[in-house]
Point group: C2
Chain length 303, copies 2
């Protein structure tokens, strides 16, 4: 079994996620005396020089030089938007090192799994193992400068293992995930991932955005106690990324919006009818349901 401390990690895309991964690997895995190293590539030269200056990356590579980086790496984290991840994989599929492990951080999985199957044989010829994953952590401020090695602490990670994935690689990856600070790993299918994520993440972003959109003015928070702020913090959204996520998981998301609209419509009807008894019963059920969701885990504060 490979030792995490000895690996050469490659990070493609040193944004909020890639930067945070680099910092967490540096802080938690490549402790003093480790043989491993971290290589980074990005289109943004200033992110690269900052990552090197801060000793997060041992070496950095422009995107034109990335193939020479890939040739060195045991473990490659592709931290790009979903379609860019696919394009990167396809464009560079012959350059990954033999026996290396690759993973992505994309928030949609079904279309990714389908598209990869068209060129995965090229990866497998070199025993390169691509593992689909989704770290459920982040923040509303993008970019390397906002990255932080601690943002994964106490968060969930979803893995979508495929038949072709090697067991020992999945185990090594799980070990890495826990070392990064995540406390809970769920293994599921890409369909199930997209179905669940459309609810817990995408629907929430849609609701938060619609709520901000419906605000009459920007001084509304003067009249608030924090509820509006809590519901809309995630509306400080990375617009191009979330456009891609919403549209790549369109049918699941639309189903969840429909079902939320029905729930909203039913509570609206109870209010319209002045039906105090049914409204109290609806809210009591909701309270019990929400408390039970809470019972097995501590609350978290970042999306």
């Amino acid at each position: 079994m490979k030792n995490l401390q000895d690996l050469c990690y490659g990070i493609v895309g040193l944004g909020l996620m890639g930067g945070s991964l680099g910092k967490a690997i540096r802080q938690n895995i490549l402790v003093k005396g480790s043989k491993g190293k971290i290589l980074g590539s990005d289109i943004n030269a200033s992110s690269l020089s900052l990552a090197k200056e801060q000793n997060i990356c041992d070496d950095t590579f422009s995107i034109e030089q990335v193939d020479s980086m890939l040739a060195e790496c045991d473990f490659v984290y592709i931290c790009l938007y979903p379609h860019a991840t696919l394009k990167f994989l396809n464009d560079h599929k012959t350059y990954f090192r033999n026996d290396s492990i690759i993973t992505d951080i994309s928030g949609v999985k079904s279309f990714m799994q389908a598209e990869i199957s068209s060129f995965n044989s090229v990866l497998q010829e070199k025993n390169v193992d691509f593992i689909l994953g989704h770290p459920m952590a982040g923040g509303e401020k993008e970019g390397y400068s906002n990255s932080l090695g601690t943002i994964f602490n106490n968060h969930n990670y979803i893995l979508v293992p495929q038949e072709y994935n090697k067991k020992e690689n999945i185990e090594l990856f799980k070990n890495l995930i826990y070392k990064l600070g995540f406390t809970h790993i769920v293994e599921t299918s890409s369909l199930q991932h997209d179905h669940k994520i459309a609810f817990t993440s995408q629907l929430c972003h849609v609701i938060a955005s619609a709520l901000v959109n419906s605000a009459e003015d920007c001084n509304i928070t003067e009249f608030g106690g924090g509820s509006f702020e809590d519901l809309t913090r995630i509306a400080m959204i990375n617009a191009p990324l979330w456009t891609e996520l919403f549209l790549s998981n369109k049918s699941e998301l639309l189903n969840h919006i429909d079902s939320f609209e029905k729930s909203l419509s039913s509570i609206k009807q109870l209010i319209k009818n002045d039906d105090a008894e049914a409204l109290t019963s609806y809210l009591t059920d909701v309270r019990i349901k929400r408390i039970s969701m809470n019972s097995n885990k501590s609350e978290k504060s970042v999306f």
Copy 2:
């Protein structure tokens, strides 16, 4: 001008809010050497004995004894549900001390203002000044045992001054509000209060409740990164209280629900149409709007 340290405070209802007010007054105002005191009344005997044991109340009164408490108090905080507040005021209107100030904490103001006008003359005969107010702080856990003197820190307070209110009493009250830990006071009309609160508070509670209601199962948080939790924390709702708040502000709330539904419907349509450009533009506008709401104040975490 009266000195806050010398006043006798009465708190009717030692729940989360009443208890927290008592604690904040004790910690921030009645510092060592103050002549003032705190009296408390509640239907729950164990809350009363705990408040006395913890030296939050100097004396406590069962609800049957409350009139003798009111006769002593310079400043009475009625911390009951909205309709119970009105009933309490009406039932005990002749027992308040001459020249005393009374206030409420109710989350709806228009109906309160209208109802009070029918018996306010009785209060005014004794120079008792009732000031409508709404402290914008709280928490999802009710009861005296969850009260905390610090929950008001950095929060907003809404005052709804009436023509009959004495200027010096409003000034004294504002002084008290800042000492309790609030950092921002908004003065407005009851109509405007109910219009704004229906959006920042009630609509948010309706949305959070509908979102929990639409969840397929209680294990959904396994697949979450915290967005769902952030959007639904306030759904651990006090059902009877919020039923009353929703129905007492029905028309304002229904209007806001309608307008939110329209915003949601428009973003849904963009997703349905695969209109990436318009969707990115919608989300970009939302991001800019939400950031501008944030710019003048620090983020808060409790509703």
